[in-house]
Amino acid sequence: MNNGILIGQYVPSDSFIHRLDPRTKIMTIFFFVIFVFFANSTLSYAWLTLFALTVTFATKIRFIFILKGLTPVWFLIVFTFLLHLFVTKEGTVLIEAFALKIYSGAIIQGVAISFRFFLLILVTSLLTLTTTPIEITDAIESLLHPLKKIKFPVHELALMMSISLRFIPTLMQETEKISKAQASRGVDFRTGPLKDRIQAVVPLLVPLFVSAFKRAEELAMAMEARGYQGGEGRTKLRELKMETIDIISLITFAVVILVLFFLRT
């Protein structure tokens, strides 16, 4: 089913990146995403690439596997490059064919922007590759905690997120199971006229909804039976804790950003 598609998939390993506090990772990535836009020279790009690659290798996940997982995104990256290539009109004309003029500035722009895009996606995908969805939710709840003061329902939001995340794999499994069962009863999801294929979705969707509603009801009852009454006074099983390694990582990242500003032109 989810052969090869990697976005949002956790890959367990014992690297120190995996063990970092999820808040460290989220903050680092948040600022990385911002500072990528400050890179403007070859040297500054090289520096950020070096940082991204070092982190990638530190995750101990096979690089080829990560690249393959980004397959659906390659299209976007190439598209961005082509867009800039044809639209930007700066620098000298390099090639002139038919009605098209390709400028030197366009190539530079295209490479820079699509490379920036690649860095962004690589680094953000590292977050989900090395952090379980539950950790991400906990971190978001903790980072958004100050918003509670303005009556923002932080706990409820985090709970909704973690429940949805928890049930995504279940739902995917269920979809696979039911589509196999219906295929065995002669439903053809893949070939035939469009009208038939749309109709073929009904025997898949109805059981999925039935079981999703049943599951939601059971979950609500099970939570109530175990005394859940909202976030007030609720303690956590997994306490997030900043360790020395997190501090070191954050400081290292701050240094990386400082150096970036020296490398800008």
């Binding site: 989810n2 596997f65 009863r185 009904v202 025997p203 059981p207």
Partner: protein
């Protein structure tokens, strides 16, 4: 239809960190008309195996042959739908596949997909309802307000209505009450004999394997561990225990009798009453000689 597996391997999500070799170099043949039990510990690859029988999965290596249909790694099967018409599969928890507004429509869903004439479908519905022991009166009711056990029966009826010649059952009685389990298994066995079906049963119940199957395949971590007649398989207690499988109670009991009194009674699918009489006569014979 004869079924044969020729050095079949299947790998889930190949070339990823999640790569999992679910079947490894599996070979066996199932002659037409036999009743085969597939057993093995949880995760041993039983469900993966049976999904090859109607082309839901294609082997990543090796060859599966079902009658005239051939499944191989790089060859797309053109006639997959007609294969599925011949091979009926009852999955684990089949009640999850119900979706129509009425029980009748749901049972008719399979045969309709395979272009069975309406008159033929109308004829089959009462037959399969009788087979799964449900009253015809409920045909117009929606399937969702039945009990779990009844929903299971409706789902099974829906597969039987396709009139398959190969019946594949993946733990069809899991989660039912003991009496319902027995009823459903007896029903499958009766159909197997009446319609000369080829039946493949995945089960965790050694009792069922012994009672119904004439051939048994034991899987362990995706490989074939043992294969043979159930009575022969159950002679090897230690070998079975090595893969966390137990002897059926009745075999266990007969072994104890043999150890205790030195009389051996071969298992021939006797009922409890027949067995009791047999033990009585044999024991009397033993005490008379003393």
């Amino acid at each position: 239809m004869d079924i044969s597996f020729n050095q079949v391997s299947y790998t889930y999500q190949p070339n990823t960190p999640f790569e999992h070799h679910a079947l490894k170099d599996l070979s066996f043949t199932i002659p037409s008309g036999s009743f085969v039990a597939v057993v093995g510990h949880t995760g041993s690859g039983k469900s993966t195996l049976i999904q090859h029988l109607n082309g839901l999965l294609r082997p990543t290596a090796g060859k599966v042959q079902i009658g005239d249909y051939h499944l191989m790694a790089n060859k797309k099967v053109t006639s997959i739908k007609s294969l599925r018409k011949h091979v009926g599969v009852v999955f684990q928890y089949p009640e999850h596949q119900l979706f129509e507004e009425t029980i009748k429509k749901d049972i008719a869903f399979g045969p309709r997909n395979f272009n069975t004439p309406q008159a033929e479908i109308e004829k089959r519905i009462p037959e399969v309802m009788a087979a799964v022991n449900l009253p015809l009166a409920i045909l117009e009711r929606p399937p969702f307000d039945l009990s779990g056990g009844q929903m299971r029966r409706v789902a099974i009826a829906g597969v039987l209505a396709m009139d398959p010649s190969v019946l594949v059952l993946d733990e069809p009685t899991a989660g039912l009450d003991p009496k319902g389990q027995q009823q459903i298994m007896d029903m499958f066995y009766q159909l197997h004999q009446e319609k000369k079906l080829t039946t493949i049963l995945v089960t965790h119940s050694m009792e069922d394997a012994l009672r119904y199957a004439d051939h048994m395949i034991i899987l362990d971590h995706g490989s074939k561990y043992m294969e043979g007649r159930p009575v022969d398989i159950f002679k090897e207690k230690e070998k079975l225990q090595a893969v966390q499988l137990d002897l059926p109670e009745i075999i266990h009991f007969l072994r104890r009798i043999e150890e205790r009194f030195g009389i051996s009674i071969p298992y021939r699918k006797q009922t409890m009453a027949e067995l009791a009489t047999e033990i009585k006569t044999k024991l009397k014979g033993v005490s008379k000689h003393e």
